[in-house]
């Protein structure tokens, strides 16, 4: 059982949390990370999954933005490895008199144009206002039979404000009695699906797979070999403007930053043969087009580490560091694994790539060979 102690305040809302023994295999861990709700600003459940699986005695720190950090060692160099906690999702903005809920998508950043459509006519989960499990709901959809002869038969609602969430309540009082509160997070009911070989699929694998990579580092690193201080950071509120990462950039003055992200190397406008990059060809190292000397050296050290460990790398250049942007005055690189169909409930990754990423980073942070 995990002991949860509030050991002190970090900023206004910060706290420290003690972890319990790690348990379960890696797929169980990734499955748990995919299943839980974690819309921006409400990442508690994701943090809980991570804390539950940290090695005994590791102290998890939660700051005012919801970032979870685990610090190993002390002194210099200070290396910060970062992954993203949150997922794109919705919150309840209105409880109608007829019991239906109206919702608002939190990220207003570019997402697939049909992102809202992926939530229509699907099972949903709404966070309970109490301590109970999430509340079952569905999103309303036109009945096939009733659209015959209508010109709009297959026209999907195109915006979040067109979505009606039905939890079975037929009055506002009934909805509230079921535990619905204003601003309660709303997500798809998510599950990790095992595809052929080492492929898995599930919504929010971007960036729960990154969260899993950091968790494996926490559990698998030979800490006696880690020089200086290592901060493992699970950043909150990424999908609403990278706010968690911005806060981390003010809390720490790192000597190097490694952002663990999922990436589709082929951008919009040039449909690739395999959307989302080459799965199964290993982790990637993305170079910033405008990298300074420190970043170039960091990238080279990482390349050397992968060569030494004989882990194949996919390499390409990027124009934006995403959550690494607040650290651009420091050496910072983006690493990760390719993802297929990003931004959809059908996101696919390769567990072999995830293994390669974890082994690569572990070797690098342990200073191997």
């Amino acid at each position: 059982m995990r002991r949860r102690n509030s050991l002190g305040m970090l900023g206004l809302f910060g706290m420290m949390l003690l972890a319990t023994p790690a348990s379960g295999d890696d797929l169980d861990s990734l499955r748990a990370l995919v299943r839980v709700q974690g819309v921006s600003g409400r990442e508690e459940a994701v943090r809980q999954v991570i804390l539950t699986r940290l090695p005994t005695g590791d102290r998890g720190e939660v700051d005012n933005m919801g970032n979870l950090t685990v610090t190993l060692g002390s002194g210099r160099p200070l290396r910060l490895v970062l992954a993203v906690l949150d997922e794109p999702g919705y919150v309840v903005t209105r409880i109608q008199e007829d019991g239906y809920l109206r919702i608002r998508r939190l990220p207003r950043l570019p997402l697939p144009p049909l992102f809202d459509q992926y939530f229509v006519g699907q099972p949903l989960l709404v966070e309970s206002g109490g301590l109970g499990p999430p509340i079952n709901a569905v999103s309303a959809v036109l009945s096939t039979h009733l659209q015959r002869g209508r010109r709009t038969a297959t026209a999907p609602p195109s915006r979040d404000e067109d979505i009606f969430v039905d939890l079975g309540a037929r009055s506002a009082d009934q909805a509230r009695a079921a535990g619905i509160t204003m601003l309660a997070p709303v997500t798809l009911e998510k599950e990790l699906m095992t595809l052929a070989g080492t492929r898995v699929s599930g919504f929010a694998l971007d960036d729960r797979a990154g969260c899993e990579a950091l968790l494996r580092l926490a559990r698998g690193l030979d800490r006696s070999r880690v020089k200086g201080q290592l901060v493992l950071a699970w950043a909150a509120q990424s999908w609403v403007g990278g706010r968690g990462a911005q806060r981390l950039a003010r809390r720490f003055t790192p000597d190097e930053v490694i952002v663990v992200d999922l990436y589709a190397p082929n951008p919009t406008g040039a449909p690739p043969a395999e959307p989302g990059g080459m799965l199964g060809k290993g982790p990637f190292l993305a170079s910033n087009l405008y990298a300074d000397e420190g970043t170039r050296h960091l990238a080279e050290r990482l390349r050397r580490s992968s060569r030494d460990a004989e882990i194949p790398l996919q390499q390409f250049q990027i124009g934006s560091l995403n959550d690494g942007a607040p650290f651009e005055k420091h050496p910072v690189v983006v690493v990760g694994i390719p993802i297929r169909f990003p931004g959809t409930p059908a996101e696919v990754v390769d567990l072999g790539d995830l293994d390669g990423l974890t082994d690569w980073l572990k070797g690098y942070l342990e200073g191997r060979p």
Binding site: P113, L142, H145, S158, A169, E189, S201, T268, P271
Partner: protein
Amino acid sequence: MNKAGWMAVIVALLLLAGLGAAPRAATSRDASAASFTVLETLIEVSGVSGREGEVRESILSLLPAWARSKSRVDRRGNLMLQAGHGGKRILFIAHMDEIGFEITGLERDGTARVRSLGGFFSTLYEAHPVVVHTAAGQRAAVVRPRRDYLSPASAGRPFTDTDVVLDFGTANREETLALGVSAGDWLTVPKQFRRLAGEMASGRSVDDRAGCTALVNAVRSLDPDRIGNRVTFAWSVEEETGLKGAEFIASESTFDVVFAVDTFVSSDSPLESKAFALGILGKGPVLRAMDNSNLAPRQGLSRIQALAESRHLPLQIGLTHGGNDGSVFTQYGAVDLPLSWPTLYSHSAVEVIQQADLNNLGQLVALLAEAW
């Protein structure tokens, strides 16, 4: 007896009445809950048109021993149960099959193409996981989003069954074949029954596993020795692809009255026009008086209403779209009187039903079997 004595008797009678009332109330709740228990079992098995075997086995397992011993499966795959002697020839029919896709072929890159079985919006499958049912067992796949799904221009286009591409995570046809996947395999969404607030529930294939449930519940409550008519319960195949199972039954047997037990597609939703098909969830079963396949005769409707009223069973009446299995029997001289419950979001992954409606529908079927 003195005043105290009478008071003691009155208190005892009240206690007895209370003790008697409590089990009755509990029984009613239990029966209602049992409706959803049966429905949950039937929803969580899969069976697209022509592949109803698993559903049929589940229904058989839910029937009482007397009914199992009298059941048979006809050459088309319909599950038939006949009970009672003499009187009128009455058929209650609900369909076992559900909508879905069938794999038509594998591509060189390991993906698969499909065709739809039944009518529905393929858009609801885009970029979602599916379960492929193969001879080697179930396999997970995802339906790829449209190729240029990141482009704003892609959003305005329809997405039909010809756009559905299954991705198993394989790199070529050989890898997909090695999974045991081949043309002719079929797929559904991951099947799960979910309870909602307001004694409602949701899942794929409420249409028509709820009808199957109503028939199962009716059979469970009937005493076969007290059925005065020659009653047949049929769980049919291939309704969604053209009432084929029902047509086979109609060609083999003759009935005076057919009660098709199937969905009343309701407009009781914020997305639909309330001009018609407004069956309110929680207000009872629905007499599906008119649909695209049948106009039920007024005399029969009135008789059902009178019988339901005599047992204080709530009942709605309405018109909706869609066809029903009973309609094919009218060409052979039978009267088709479709019975329904109101359902929301038809043919989606999240069809919604209310528990008391289903419970009352089962009671109505039993009543008609006994008293028609």
